[in-house]
Assembly symmetry: C2
Homo-oligomer: 314 residues x 2
Amino acid sequence: MDVIRSLGEISLGSRLKRVSDTLMKQTQELYTDQNIDFDPYLFPAFYNIVKREQTTNNELIDALKTSQPAVTQTIKKLELRGLIDLTPDPIDKRKKTISPTPTGTKLFQRLSPIWEILDRTVKEFTQLQSDSLLAHIDHFEQALRSGTLMQTVKERIQKELTIEIKTHEPSLSKAFYDLNIEWLETYFYVEDFDREVLSKPQQYILDPGGHIFYAIEGGITLGTVALKRIEDNLFELTKMAVSPEARGKGVGQKLMQHCIGFAKEENWKALLLYSNRILENAIHIYRKYGFEEIPVEPDSPYERSNIKMYLPLN
Amino acid sequence: MDVIRSLGEISLGSRLKRVSDTLMKQTQELYTDQNIDFDPYLFPAFYNIVKREQTTNNELIDALKTSQPAVTQTIKKLELRGLIDLTPDPIDKRKKTISPTPTGTKLFQRLSPIWEILDRTVKEFTQLQSDSLLAHIDHFEQALRSGTLMQTVKERIQKELTIEIKTHEPSLSKAFYDLNIEWLETYFYVEDFDREVLSKPQQYILDPGGHIFYAIEGGITLGTVALKRIEDNLFELTKMAVSPEARGKGVGQKLMQHCIGFAKEENWKALLLYSNRILENAIHIYRKYGFEEIPVEPDSPYERSNIKMYLPLN
DNA sequence: TATATTTGAATAAGCACTTATATAATTAGT
DNA sequence: ACTAATTATATAAGTGCTTATTCAAATATA
């Protein structure tokens, strides 16, 4: 028997604290589960700091409705974690200006989709047709203690936030075209031949024995890559494109990993690719995965390439 | 701007904790205000112990849904305050049996009506037509922070739990009769003459220059007392009766205090009273207020009296 | 201009919980 | 019957808040 529950509104204080503790603990477990080093107690302060871009201690006190030492202590923790920067105000030397570090902003971006799911799911689970606060608390605590709430959150994260690699199917042709055109428009220019190849992946990539892969998250295609057959066991990694919204999430690396794994399984001899030296980040990643620069042949098939890389397998 | 409020369900944990803290603090203030030495954090454990009459540590852990050390620590505090007794179990020497002390039971009785008001008022203030938990929390926090909730609680305590002394008016005649008859039936027996006097207070007490007072709490008459004129400045304290439900609340003492104060203001010489030695508690209180025993006259007007007491004023 | 007051932030200590661990007493297993 | 496992409670240390106090810089006041 849960006596606190039956005590009614007098024990509401203890009740609320108990529910808060449970929720915090489960949220902490969720972060750990997702391999994210974050503390739910830091959330309100952190969220505020990142959203405002630049804050002061006093603004936070006002926003969080907690005591000044609580804010000072929380900021200290955030600073220790390297998520925020504290710089003394040049005019008023007592003040400190609080702003997120690049690490902080990055973590924020990583956490945002999880928070969105958490928010949505909690909202769903806390909906109840009742005019009594206690009934709502009961209902919520039940959802928490039974574990169904966090179970649902995890399932949704799994479903919506896991990047999954799919092989080509006709319905993905449009994504293949769009992603690559966007990429070309950003870094180079689109030629008629590009449009021709990209609009007919079957004819230009698959039929000659190649493969196309897609990175899909929650039904949205974030990136694509193709493996074009050169010889029976030598393939060219090409047509890699990641949607602008998804950049920085490691989509390109996921596609790369998949291609290398696939190539190894097929017992191919090697992979090669053509790129351009201005794409420093991309080349850095190619090197990371073991590609090594080799001379570009004089009759290179690509005008915009000025570097050729090679990855021997096995 | 209250950013936590606008953060939505992700910050629900922080929100709940904040509301809990505020509620606990305000409840503590309420107790202090009422001159009651109690701690709202002890409530769930204390309530359980008193209600069950006898418990064990383990039962409490199960009931309160908190950790074992939390229970052990809370019990320790209750013991330090003298509200509970911890006796080792004679069979299993590891176990401790927890039971309320008389002081604990007394405090519980004193607190119960306050808890009833608190419960009722919180229930009222937390009623809201909304299916969202967050909206309920918002609504409740508003009521807490604005102070209206506790203001209402205090007003109700003042109105319902303050014992107030009123002078006679015809509508109170029935209470005068009922309270005294109940008292007589309990301790002695009711004679016809008693019924005659008690049913006609105007004729027997007031018209000859006497007074009747009532102790009233929340519209309920808890006790009564009469001052019967013997001489112009000598009055007899008589017809004191307290309803069985209200015994132990100090109603008799309140009436006594009022009578003495009244007598002093009227510049009377003295008060006297007749009682019976079997009513030890009553006589103890009379002595406490300064009454001293004097010989009973041979022609005492009361058959059931065997002690006469006298209180000189000024 | 010198002193008093206010303000922003830090520190200390306390409180109610937590987890981890220790210390008994009791029960189970062979 | 004797060791091993379990159970009941206590203690220690940590966490996130609190209030009270301290300290330094800025502002007000005379």
